[in-house]
């Protein structure tokens, strides 16, 4: 992970599209335990819609994220999809007018997204939602901002998944199953771990001169 410009965002978006295309059936299966089994299909549709947005002409990161949020919103009104849109709107505000975001600013930007998602969705930290994963990633990146990387983010997202697996879901449809959700991954948390893992493996976000040949 390095300074972020629109070029990095475009690469991340494309990698996310591929990751959610590949993970569609796994995420549907994870959602099928306590939901209606469409999280994978919804996220694949959402990621594809965002990938279709041409970001090259956007003047700054704020407007790029705003365009991505609009594309996300057009593709779905599901609760997880709406939370993704809310996160994109929050980072759009955070990055308004800026063409580059420093590595050090990224944890704070991710935190801003998590705060907005909690406010919109009504969940709290600890409810076993995607926001628990995002907050964990922001926290881990913050402890070592100079070496913040997708590897750190990926490990943190896995750590969140592992530490919440044996806790009950406390909100939304899964929340109504209570203790029956113990032992199972929340599909939103799993989706975020899949995304971070894919970004770690691909090294997107690294500038060409930093990529070791």
């Amino acid at each position: 992970m390095t300074d972020v410009t629109i070029r990095e965002i475009s690469a991340i978006v494309e990698r996310a599209r591929l990751a959610f295309d590949a993970a569609e059936s796994d995420l549907n299966a994870a959602d099928g335990r306590f939901g209606d089994g469409d999280t994978g299909t919804m996220l694949n549709r959402l990621a594809s819609a965002i990938a279709l947005v041409d970001l090259k002409a956007e003047p700054d990161l704020g407007s790029a994220f705003r365009k991505m949020a609009a594309a996300a919103s057009r593709s779905t009104g599901s609760s997880l999809g709406t939370l993704v849109m809310t996160a994109l709107l929050a980072v759009s505000k955070y990055a308004a007018g800026q063409s580059t975001l420093s590595r050090q600013a990224i944890p704070e930007m991710i935190e801003a997204a998590a705060t907005a998602m909690l406010a919109r969705g009504g969940a709290s930290l600890g409810d076993k939602t995607i926001v628990d994963s995002i907050a964990t990633v922001a926290g881990e990146l913050k402890t070592a901002p100079a070496v913040a990387s997708w590897e750190v983010a990926s490990a943190a997202s896995r750590k969140a998944l592992d530490s919440f697996r044996d806790r009950p879901s406390r909100i939304g449809r899964a929340g109504r199953y209570g203790n029956k959700t113990i032992g199972f991954d929340d599909p939103g948390m799993l989706a975020f771990a899949i995304l971070c893992g894919a970004l770690a493996r691909s090294n997107v976000g690294l500038r060409p001169e930093e990529v070791s040949e």
Partner: protein, 331 residues
């Protein structure tokens, strides 16, 4: 069960195209065509009422756009909330200059998108209010009733709030009528077989042949118990007991909706209704305007729900006021 579709991606839009083609009173609106409004809305200033939600539940929600009912509806993908753009457009369509009531079921995606749309509408100078359908008694305890899901019983709030709006009442009064009707309406349902999302390989939940899921929601949400199916009268008795236990204060008159979740035939609904009517009569309770049929479904899911609205002197006249939409006419 095989599905009659062309493509899963086109399911909602082709359904809406057919719905408005078959019903001249309705028109598709909005940038993505995900709003349904009245083709002749009239220009009299009054409070507008919008609803919205995921597809897969017809006649809910879109089918209740009509005179004395909803002014507009925002439509989401199957089992997904409508997006903020469609909610915003539906509010604009419903706006007749005296404010707009957003009246929809208590689900995360619907709530987030309508909340955002309401904030945007307020910024445009359209006053809004919100009432959430929370009639499903099986979805949370009485103490936590604000966490309950909204299911078939919301149509009574459409009806009474719509009737009051048609009389020219204020947004505050229309909102209060909707809130009061929601408060006095209770529903419980059961599933006998699951549905399958369009194009999906597997059903949205598992229920073995001969099993019943009592209290399940209209997306297959968990219920109260699952067991071998029982005789109709036993099911009717349990459902009625659970609904009557929620009655607020004294009541002598109720309205009853026996609703098919999709695949369950009218014959079985009438067998349930027969028992419910007899039991209510034994209690000295009079039934007003009973409804038996498909009013809120989950595509091809088999099962039924029973809704009771405990009437009072404010609600009943508005329930009985004339109204008309493609799926429900009160003459």
């Amino acid at each position: 069960m095989s599905q009659i579709i062309n493509s899963a991606l086109q399911y909602v839009d082709e359904m809406l195209e057919g719905l408005v083609a078959a019903n001249r009173s309705l028109v598709r609106l909005g940038e993505a065509g995900r709003v349904v409004g009245l083709s002749t809305p009239g220009d009299r200033a009054r409070v507008g009422i919008v609803s919205g939600g995921g597809s897969g539940h017809l006649p809910l929600f879109t089918g209740y756009v009509g005179s004395g009912l909803l002014d507009a509806c925002a439509i989401g993908n199957v089992f997904e909330g409508p997006n903020v753009q469609s909610c915003m457009e539906a509010i604009r369509v419903a706006d007749r200059g005296r404010g707009v009531l957003c009246l929809y079921g208590n689900y995360g995606g619907d709530r987030m998108n309508f909340d955002m749309a309401s904030e945007l509408a307020e910024a445009e100078g359209i006053e809004t209010s919100t009432v959430l359908g929370i009639d499903d008694v099986a979805s949370a305890s009485f103490d936590e009733h604000s966490r309950r899901r909204g299911v078939a019983g919301i149509i009574y709030a459409y009806k009474t709030a719509g009737a009051l709006a048609a009389l020219g009442a204020s947004l505050a009064d229309v909102t209060e009528m909707a809130r009061r009707t929601v408060e006095r309406t209770k529903t419980i349902g059961f599933a006998l077989s699951p549905c399958r999302l369009p194009g999906a390989a597997v059903a949205s939940f598992e229920l073995a042949e001969g099993e019943i899921g009592m209290g399940m929601g209209i997306h297959g949400e968990p219920g109260i118990w699952q067991d071998r199916v029982k005789p109709a009268d036993d099911l009717a008795d349990e459902m009625l007991d659970r609904l009557m236990a929620e009655a607020l204060g004294d009541f002598r008159r109720v309205t009853v909706l026996v609703n098919s979740l999709g695949a369950t035939p009218l014959e079985e609904l009438f067998i349930l209704y027969r028992r419910l009517a007899r039991r209510l009569s034994d209690h000295g309770v009079e039934i007003v305007l009973p409804l038996v049929g498909r009013y809120t479904t989950s595509m091809e899911m088999a099962g039924a729900s029973v809704s009771l609205c405990f009437l009072d002197e404010d609600i009943e006249p508005h329930l009985l006021a004339p109204a008309s939409c493609p799926f429900w006419t009160v003459p």
